[in-house]
């Protein structure tokens, strides 16, 4: 039983990492007022780039670097369209999602089914990994997992809430007019955080093909980019709840694996639906049970999705 529990936890963390990385990226972009619905496409391109790169030079960190570069490129394209040209973010985001999933499917066709020649190896943290049940699941994971769960959330939380720069980012997302009047460059901050968001989504994709399920098939991201966007809303634009949501989502997914292994007689397609239905449930829960005071906390950045145009222009 402890083995099963440990296994569920390990699987939850592994599949939660992908979502957590992408969701943290989206959180940063949305805090600066840019909604990026294209995460799914960026993640797919990141996943494909990573595995294609390690097939050429078998070092997982080379794959990661390649994925980061592609994420940056897509981020620049998206930011150019939405921040510089101020185009509709919903349309551009959907366009990016189609573009990324479509292109990765086309370019990845020759790689389909091959296992990844190099993967991230787990790094065992001494002492902590010896804790019964959770130890091996939590503290014997690739470095990216520690990054997604232990480094990034406190770091982002600190930068956003405790530093002057973070306050500027929030100001740009909440009231760009006021921020502009204070001399903050709206464009610079939005460009920066849109690109960081895309890079994190691409890293999430790289984690899929280099650690989680180390091979490529079309549609390997399976809607995780969309789920990440939903989790940002669920987590009320705060890093810690977002990461916990990702873990919860991972648990729901791994429950599907367990059900399959234990043979509970639920058809596999119904198990595969669980993450999507679970995400919708997650989005619905806060509004049904939260008190009014908490609901106030969970409102989106006021300027989210609205291109900034200086008055009078």
């Amino acid at each position: 039983m402890t083995n099963v529990l440990s296994g569920v936890l390990a699987a939850a963390i592994a599949s939660g990492t992908v979502i957590a990385l992408a969701a943290l990226g989206e959180l940063l972009a949305e805090r600066s007022g840019v909604q990026n619905l294209g995460l799914e496409g960026v993640m797919a391109m990141g996943a494909l780039t990573a595995i294609a790169a390690v097939r050429w030079y078998p070092d997982p960190y080379f794959g990661l670097l390649a994925a980061i570069l592609v994420g940056l490129l897509l981020g620049v394209i998206y930011a150019l369209a939405t921040v510089v040209f101020r185009a509709n973010q919903v349309l551009c985001g959907l366009g990016l999602a189609f573009f990324g999933t479509g292109l990765s499917g086309r370019l990845g066709a020759p790689l389909s089914g091959f296992p990844s020649p190099a993967t991230f190896q787990p790094v065992r943290i001494p002492l902590l990994a010896d804790i019964p049940i959770i130890g091996n699941a939590v503290f014997n994971q690739p470095l990216l997992v520690y990054g997604a769960f232990f480094v990034l959330p406190p770091l982002i939380s600190f930068v956003i809430h405790q530093t002057r720069h973070g306050m500027q980012v929030r100001a740009v997302g909440e009231n760009p007019g006021a921020a502009d009047a204070c001399g903050i460059s709206i464009m610079k901050i939005r460009l920066l955080y849109t690109c960081i968001g895309c890079i994190l989504a691409a890293i999430g994709g790289a984690y899929i093909t280099l650690a989680f399920t180390p091979s490529w098939i079309e549609g390997i991201t399976a809607g995780r980019g969309w789920i990440a966007i939903a989790l940002v809303i669920f987590g009320a634009w705060r890093p810690l709840p977002v990461v916990l949501g990702a873990l919860l989502f991972g648990a729901v997914t791994s429950l599907g694996f367990v059900a399959q292994i234990q043979g509970w007689g639920i058809p596999s397609s119904f198990l595969a639906m669980m993450p999507y239905l679970g995400t919708i449930l997650l989005m619905a829960i806060p509004i049904l049970f939260r008190s009014r005071a908490l609901r106030k906390l969970s409102t989106s950045p006021a300027a989210l999705g609205i291109p900034y145009i200086r008055e009078g222009l």
Partner: protein
């Protein structure tokens, strides 16, 4: 810049916002977006060693110069226009129904259930299937619509996630309980005996008129009814609509359910008109392409008819070229590029390039300097206030 030399009141080119872009510009910009995307694809094909011009010629000839090609284009245009209308309807109130693919599947699912398990005269059965299709679509958008209307839950995400669920559900039944056991190779249901009447021995059936009728109905309702007026008011200013007592929440719910119903009916048309069997692959990303159809039409129901046909030509060209290295995924990628270009082009219609004189705060002979400063600063706020 030549005119500035020696002039005491220098002038610069400036972009000014406008809301009155002429109709022809809107059309031109969108055609330009599609053309630019295709040029980009052509360049990519050229670089990867294919011959884009020859391929394009082949695709266009097979799409528009043969009777079969034209029939296929019309067949493809039908669901594209339907899903486009479904998305466009939501756009009127700034609602995004991204789940038309799922609603299409559920509509097809419900229509198939009726077709497989109820017996009756063909005409009555077709009407029943039509209603089942609409109901399936409504069912699939009901929860997102409810959440959006009363609790303000983001409908983009909820409708989209249900697409994945819909495909899984339909595949489960098509491969599992409803599978046609007679034909071993098919992962689809039995052939449904009720079919929309076809014209002679062509592939066309009377279902191709349904999108035209619905588009006309929507256009009339939007323009000439109180309901349409209220919807337009909510779309342009929700606060004002609430203030005047328009039941905004009820309108949101109704519009979304109607949008789901239209998408569901397109699933029924596919089942009763062309595929006749339910499977997990009856939609060629129609729902996703519907978003592009609606975006190109800028939410106008009659515009959707045109952009739907345009995208159908593109989709058919893509299908023709599948043997030459293009795939469904490549088509999706091209669609993504078109969507981004169309969105950026939309911005271009909101601006007008005008030449304006600037008053300078400096001495007249320093006008040249001030002009340069203005150029560098772009839309520098104090300068601009003076010009107005």
């Amino acid at each position: 810049m030549k005119a500035d030399q020696g002039s005491s009141q220098p002038s610069v080119w400036r972009f000014r916002r406008r809301t009155d872009a002429p109709f022809w510009l809107n059309i031109l910009i969108r055609l330009f977006a599609v053309a630019l995307a295709l040029v980009l694809v052509g360049v990519t094909l050229e670089l990867s060693g294919l011959e884009p011009i020859a391929l394009g010629k082949k695709a266009l000839l097979q799409t528009l110069a043969t009777s079969y090609g034209i029939q296929q284009t019309v067949i493809l245009a039908t669901p594209l226009i339907m899903t486009g209308l479904a998305v466009a309807l939501g756009m009127k109130m700034r609602l995004w129904n991204i789940g038309t693919d799922g609603q299409l599947y559920l509509g097809a699912f419900a229509a198939t259930a009726v077709g497989l398990f109820v017996q009756g005269p063909t005409w009555i059965m077709l009407v029943l299937m039509f209603m089942a299709g609409a109901l399936g679509g409504i069912l699939w958008i009901f929860i997102p619509a409810l959440l959006r209307a009363y609790w303000n839950v983001n409908e983009i995400i909820t409708t989209l996630l249900l697409n994945f669920v819909a495909v899984l559900l339909v595949s489960h039944f098509a491969i599992g309980p409803w599978r046609d056991t007679g034909a071993a190779i098919l992962s689809a249901t039995r052939r449904i005996p009720y079919e929309l009447p076809a014209f002679g021995d062509s592939y066309l059936h009377i279902g191709i008129f349904i999108p035209v009728i619905i588009a006309a109905l929507l256009a009339i309702m939007m323009r000439n009814t109180r309901w349409g007026y209220e919807v337009r008011v909510i779309g342009s200013n929700r606060g004002a609509a609430e203030f005047t007592g328009i039941p905004v929440l009820r309108h949101i719910l109704l519009i979304m359910l109607l949008s789901g119903a239209i998408a569901g009916i397109s699933g029924m048309i596919i089942i009763a008109g062309t595929s006749h069997r339910l499977s997990g692959t009856i939609s060629n990303s129609y729902g996703y392409m519907g978003i592009i159809v609606a975006a190109l039409a800028n939410g106008s129901p009659l515009g959707v008819l045109i952009s739907g046909v345009l995208l159908a030509i593109l989709l058919n060209a893509g299908i023709v070229l599948q043997t030459s290295g293009l795939s469904v995924s490549a088509m999706l990628a091209i669609n993504g590029v078109i969507l981004i270009f169309a969105a950026v082009g939309e911005v271009a219609t909101q601006y007008r390039l005008v030449r304006e004189q600037i008053e300078t705060r400096l001495k007249p002979d320093a006008g040249r300097l001030a002009d340069d400063q203005a150029m560098q600063a772009g839309a520098d706020a104090p300068e601009k206030e003076k010009t107005e």
